[in-house]
Symmetry: C3
Subunit: 357 residues, 3 copies
């Protein structure tokens, strides 16, 4: 099971933080600021909360390095969230427990399954499926023929892995996600009927990717749809055929990406963003929630809106949008005034000022 107690000094070393106060304090868990009790460590990520440090009942606290007015027990770190993530994992992540293959699971022919796995009842594995070490498959998981799963993969309930798809090491996929459904590809004949184009590629998911509940990733028409190392995908995201997502990228919930679009590394795409097909986003692009992107974006671009424009412009444009009715009125008023000025200049009431006569 996960570790039970740690000395505060050990935790400080783990997160490369600066220990403040008693190094011998024993910590047995992590909780949030308001509910932490004795024995637990908690954290403040911003200074506003730091102002209430004396209200905290935890035995120790993780604070930003900028918090100096603290006597401990505490750990000062550059990134409290990161430190909490690491310490918390220490207390809650149980080591893998091999339960083998439940007799109520269904396993096809010629599968390669190590002894150290945990395959639940009601799991279905097709033929020639290959599993890595310490794979955990929850009930209702369906893995089709010829799929390959790496070491330490966890598939939650009712996940589908399509035939031939390849899942890297330490990949976590949440309930109901579908990896390897057919891409949405048709050719339209002269009668307006849509003829299905065979989708014969696969999906490749690299190491340390996490995929949210009910997310769908289509297989490639040819070749592969590809999610690269370390990328995290939220729930209900849609990725079309032949999409390539770079490393360490974040796709927030309900993002939709059309076919053959590709991204660089460390991209962040906000919730409900839609991306057209066959475009490329450079490294470190950031797209605000609900935006619609139809064009390539250069590395480092920060955009918002439908269609997406530079985020700074969008802030001003959207502020102006709320004042459009006022602008309409002002414009009408100006036209009237200018007309009157023109009349005043040409008393005959000629409205044709400016016409090249």
């Amino acid at each position: 099971m996960a570790c039970e107690k740690k000395r505060l000094a050990e935790l400080a070393v783990l997160v490369q933080g600066e220990l403040v106060g008693d190094p011998e304090v024993l910590i047995n868990g992590v909780a949030d600021f308001d509910s932490a009790v004795a024995g637990e460590i908690t954290f403040v990520a911003d200074l506003k909360r730091g102002a209430r440090l004396n209200e905290c009942k935890a035995s120790a606290i993780i604070v930003p390095a900028s918090v100096t007015e603290i006597s401990g027990p505490a750990i000062r770190v550059r990134n409290p969230y990161l430190a909490v993530a690491r310490i918390h994992a220490l207390f809650v992540e149980d080591p893998f427990a091999a339960t083998g293959i439940d007799v109520r699971a269904v396993v096809g022919n010629d599968c390669q399954i190590p002894a150290e796995v945990a395959i639940s009842p009601l799991v279905y594995l097709g033929n020639r499926v290959r599993l890595g070490q310490r794979v955990t498959l929850h009930p209702g998981v369906v893995v089709y023929d010829d799929a390959v799963l790496g070491d330490d993969v966890v598939l939650y309930a009712n996940v589908t892995i399509g035939h031939g798809c390849q899942i890297g090491n330490r990949v976590i996929i949440h309930s109901g996600a579908v990896i390897g459904s057919d891409g949405f590809g048709y050719a339209t004949d002269g009668n307006g009927h849509h003829v299905k184009r065979p989708q014969v590629g696969v999906v490749q998911v690299d190491d340390d990717v996490e995929i949210g509940a009910n997310t769908c990733i289509d297989r490639a028409t040819f070749g592969k749809t590809w999610i690269k190392r370390g990328t995290k995908i939220d729930n209900l995201v849609q990725l079309g055929h032949n999409v390539v997502i770079g490393e360490d990228t974040l796709l927030v919930a309900q993002v939709g990406m059309a076919g053959s679009t590709t991204t660089g590394n460390n991209v962040v795409i906000g919730g409900q963003v839609g991306l057209g097909g066959h475009i490329h986003l450079g490294d470190r692009v950031m797209i605000a929630a609900k935006s619609g992107v139809h064009n390539n974006l250069e590395s480092g671009a920060i955009v918002a809106g439908i269609p997406a424009i530079p985020h700074k412009t969008w802030l001003r444009s959207s502020a102006a949008y709320a004042k459009l009715p006022e602008m309409v009125r002002e414009l009408r008023e100006l036209k009237r005034k200018v007309g009157e000025l023109a009349s005043a200049l040409k008393p005959g009431g000629d409205d044709s000022l400016g016409n090249k006569e």
Copy 2:
């Protein structure tokens, strides 16, 4: 089974309506206006359809109280939809039929399951699961360890309930919904790698909530994600970790709500709306479909747009938006005219009118 026949007078009492015409008419079901036949009761919700009352083949009709030109058989009520909902339920809702636990279901250790349940084949219950009276679990349902379901809960096919989640009485959850997936929480280290933050909270769903197909509700990072009594959630909705939804609230399909956002009671959120994290919506807020909300909203606010602005303003702004090209032209024309007026006033052709010389 559901009731077979009711006298019209009884139905009028049930819905607190005013009986018009023969109280002894026997009703055996409900149908919509165009397809209702003898023996059935139907309804008109608005007066336009009321104009065709004579075309109706139903044995009785539910009409708004404002419809006076009717001789019956009929029931006049304040809210025809509400009356129809109650009468219809009377005819179609079968009482619970206990079938016990199918032998092809999988049940973990130390579960608490009353005799009066209906657990289908291919259901999976983890360890220490507690079920209320008259719970119905359809095939493919997965309930993880330590989850608690109240009385009269119905989970349709392939629903997932995460470990430790708590589901109240009379909750209905439609196929493929995922309750208790991990929240989307990471801390990013100095190399741009995203480190998973443990998500150790739960989801609590209170009494009389209904949740749509393939909707996802993430468990809290700490504490609970909380859906309060009477709230109805449509299909494909995404609720992030630590979201709190008030009572009697409606979330239409494909809404997405980021982490820690909370709402008051009787809120209505239109389809495909996106809400940022850590904001609060007051009671009775209404948000138009497809809006994007990034800020707190006061009770009673009615908003639309991305970013959301007061709905009345949005109606005018969006109308003006369609005329933006015209505004651009008008503005250009005005600039030209003003330039000419300035020249006319200062014949030297000086364009610098207005410069503080």
Copy 3:
């Protein structure tokens, strides 16, 4: 199994194309331009790629009829995508292989199931389900009571078909899709509580429809929700109760359509589009991705935006939107200049120019 080799001349006939070069070339498969090897046929859909024809390693190539500078082996066709779809299917579509009903599937009472079916382990069929010839049901599929499936239907893993729903011939439904969940229908009582309206209709899906992964189609309140012949629906789409989708229509991923909305034939709806309830779209309507449609659209309309306006207008309006901050500045500047002009004309500095004195 699928065919192994075809003479190029045969393929040209199949796609009604013009053969260029050696008719005896043997083709054993299809690949994309960059990865095709000897024995395979590939294609170019646009002339830009055609410029690199000499780099291609395929044994033959499908080109648009407009490509004349080619010596073969090749097939010239009006629509390369269509030709590829047909030729590719020839090589990859295996004929149906009947495996019968796996003993680990669950089959209710009084079902009608032909001998020629392939029903996987862990499939659940309710009572009185009727299946056509050559139906393929993958693991985790749940078909409720009284549902009817036509010939050659394929349901992928964990698909749910609600009770009484009717699925036509050659329908393909991808993993996790839910057909026949309850519509989102409530009547609100005087206390603000939402009372569920029974949803007693069904979903009817006609021949040759394809439905994407995790898509949800609600059953009708009364009558039927209806997807007509040849329509293709992408992943994560939401269709409300009593929606009617015409023939040969394309709904791209994450579209949401509220209740009772109907479409004509050959409509194309882009990704993440939202449509209000009770509206009608005429034949051949096209809606740009992310649009929001609240009103009826005439046949042939091409629209974009929220709310949707003619696409041509939207292109100009959205371009102007990005320049709104500039317009605000220009308008302010114009006001100032006009004020100064007015002052210059009436040296008393009267700002009330234009008031009817």
